[in-house]
Symmetry: C2
Subunit: 548 residues, 2 copies
Amino acid sequence: LDYQHVQVPFEITLWIMLASLAKIGFHLYNKLPSVVPESCLLIFVGLIMGGIIYGLNDRSPPVMDSDIFFLYLLPPIVLDAGYFMPSRPFFENIGTILLYAVVGTIWNVFGIGFSLYGICQVKAFRLQDVSLLHNLLFGSLIAAVDPVAVLAVFEEIHVNEKLHILVFGESLLNDAVTVVLYKLFRSFCEMPTIKSVDVFAGVGKFFVVGLGGVLVGLSFGFTAAFTTRFTKDIRVIEPLFVFLYSYLSYLTAEMFHLSGIVAIISCAMGMKRYVEANISLKSHTTVKYFMKMWSSVSDTLIFIFLGVSTIGENHEWNWPYICFTVIFCLIWRALGVLVLTFFVNRFHVNTITSKDQFIIAYGGLRGAICFSLVFLLPDFRRKKLFIAATTVVILFTVFIQGMTIRPLVDLLAVKRKRESAPTVGEQIHIRFLDHLLAGIEDISGHWGQYYWKDKLEYFNSKYLQKILLREYDQPKSSIVLLYEKLERKHAIELAQAGQLGHGPAHPSFLSSDRTVITDQKLEDTPNPDVLDNMQEILARNLYRIRRT
Amino acid sequence: LDYQHVQVPFEITLWIMLASLAKIGFHLYNKLPSVVPESCLLIFVGLIMGGIIYGLNDRSPPVMDSDIFFLYLLPPIVLDAGYFMPSRPFFENIGTILLYAVVGTIWNVFGIGFSLYGICQVKAFRLQDVSLLHNLLFGSLIAAVDPVAVLAVFEEIHVNEKLHILVFGESLLNDAVTVVLYKLFRSFCEMPTIKSVDVFAGVGKFFVVGLGGVLVGLSFGFTAAFTTRFTKDIRVIEPLFVFLYSYLSYLTAEMFHLSGIVAIISCAMGMKRYVEANISLKSHTTVKYFMKMWSSVSDTLIFIFLGVSTIGENHEWNWPYICFTVIFCLIWRALGVLVLTFFVNRFHVNTITSKDQFIIAYGGLRGAICFSLVFLLPDFRRKKLFIAATTVVILFTVFIQGMTIRPLVDLLAVKRKRESAPTVGEQIHIRFLDHLLAGIEDISGHWGQYYWKDKLEYFNSKYLQKILLREYDQPKSSIVLLYEKLERKHAIELAQAGQLGHGPAHPSFLSSDRTVITDQKLEDTPNPDVLDNMQEILARNLYRIRRT
């Protein structure tokens, strides 16, 4: 027996296998997933495993390595999130999302930090040695909403698209703020004196970290799109580039201390439409499937590890500090959402209802990112207290909030996501309205979102597409693509039902096939030529109106 | 800048990226791949890179780590090979393949070992310190044909299926022999005296290593098939199990010093048909695509590393030893193929022609396995000579033989692979003949290949399918599956051409669709019901004949 030789890959494979089998196990009994979110169950499995390891070895089970988390487990989840981000609602609400992510997170960090410092001043709690800076540092790591936890819970409750993107977008984009504040306070803790220059440098750093991430991501994304122009003869390695470039963007951003999450999301969103147009259909299925698979496994592993790491002797228990942490996390988030939404609603026609506000505040789950950050803290006397408080906040949000959010959504009758995909007709109308609004904004001289969207589309079709797409000579509108996708799906269904006629192969009944199509034009689904024509007429006329 | 933090994943990603870009580069200029095999070009790229590293650092570039090769690069290639192994020609020629793989490899090992020992006795060559055991050890690592190199070259020249499977099957199955002989001679080298017991133990070990590998592989394969029965609700992680279980089979086999290659091939071949039936169509596309992608990247990396590792100061040059190694490799392989084929042809009706024999002998390429094994040798005085000789043999076979084999195949007019896939009609006839031959063998009392195949099918449908398949109540014959696959492909083509009628949605022309199918029955492709009927009648009648 030669275990040493194969130990590393063997153990990794076994962990992944365990995670996958745990997932299968939950779905075997159908009622379980509908009551308890998967994340809770996985943490529970982790707790049990941790307990067993602790019981057998009589020492703390190994905690999740922060490097493994940030370098290997987090990127697949964020890549998946970025690649399948619904770009329309995201960009429509980008202002609100950024407000929540930047101002909201800063608000939470300082709110939680200062009020915990207030608690520490109460002599009876014996916490006077925790300085303001340490409290702020703790606030910076506990304030940020966690994308992994949010995704795990919100994917199951199917709230409406806008609400989903507000919470989820915030959880992704607050990474830049968290990175900056966490590193800032950590370096402040180690500095003897803090100059006001350092504080201003911190503010400037925030823009560098965020925008730098976007820049790194977009440049890798466009390189990826450009590379897939040349893969026509070797289709098998096409999917690889999607993964390689986005991972490189994450690693590069991390290397320069920029926000890796922001980078990988920009990369994924930037490359998506060009890559999709360049690669083959099967490659695209592989990319989609593998991304989902990978992120699902990472997600599972993270929650199991979270459970395992909870068990052990890393904790220092202090009732007041821990209870007040949970309370302040809830209060400051609720207040932040209320205040920020008040301003947002003043400037928008499509307001955020109070029900939605409640779900946004309540959906602020904490997760593995806080956990990894607290273990990355330099050693000091109260580190174990911080670890305990973080663990409690995570377990509280994931278990209590995560399990009650679905009944609450039902109880409040929060608007749900529409079940059916939009029809081709609806798509055309949305497109039509976009053109119309862009025209109105243009005439009224208001540089709103439709104006910028139109400019971006123009830039895209004039320059980007020519460089990044392989077959630029016949660009297809997204509606035609949607139509083709529906047709393909339908064709496969037909073939599976064994009811497909071999049209073009046999001239004898080609005529009958033709009549089918003619009939069909009178029905609801137009065929691509007609659509192309409609598109062209629409686009030409609209531009003409705008020019006059 | 914090490079240390991300170094490991960053460098791995960059290497893979380089390999993928190199692949794209070759295919950009269309004529290059048709003249030179990709493997040669990749080694060439590796040589240049090695030269650059050597020039810049003034010391030998790092050689390919044997652990990385055996644990991470080899398994994907072998898995791909095993999963897509055409099982029919493989099992039809299993006897011949095993003869080449076992007897042929032993013949080569001892042939090369003893004749090189003879060369070492010539005083003028100054090689008298190389003992017989060391020569045999060297023979054991240089004798085995390499699956990676064979695959890379034979995939491009498209020889007929039988010839391909003979060379390729041998290269895969000789692993068990290589493992045993290599480890045997290596331990003999370190032993003070060798008892005859050890030699017999070696012979026994061969069966353990080979059959043990098959056993480990099959048990993991069937577990994998069994697991995919329960993945209906979580389709996204289905593809994962295929990879996890096969990798585990490889690692487990390696752990117990069994043949990992044999294990992973048995696992892949064992699970394939059940997994395919259980998982969804999209999961299957992902599995197929990802396997191809992974093996293609591994393959590329191996050849690039081979090139890089060649440069440097690891070599001791000795003209006679190196030249005679190349010559003996060629001679003993040619002799072995001639002698073994003589016996094979005496017992088979479908003989191996002399042209085919020449290609089998000439296609005995050596590759990265030899290279990794020679670096794994314990340090002794002449290790560098062995490294030099191995490198020369690999480069000679990959460059000279690999580049000339395509013109030779053209020149000799070796029978090529048929271009088109077999039609449904042909499939039915093949199946019919199988049943017939099984019946004849049964009546004549001859336990031939058809008899065993029939027994296996019976066991499969009676026990295995019931345990391993999710939807056992409606087992589909492979012909119906083939028909469905063709239909689906056709449907997608139709949809892409925009010529599909929406049959069942509109009752008004459902009738026209029906007539299409009726027309079609008169044409070449029968519909599934008819096929099922035919199958049933065929099977029932044949069994009745056999029973009487």
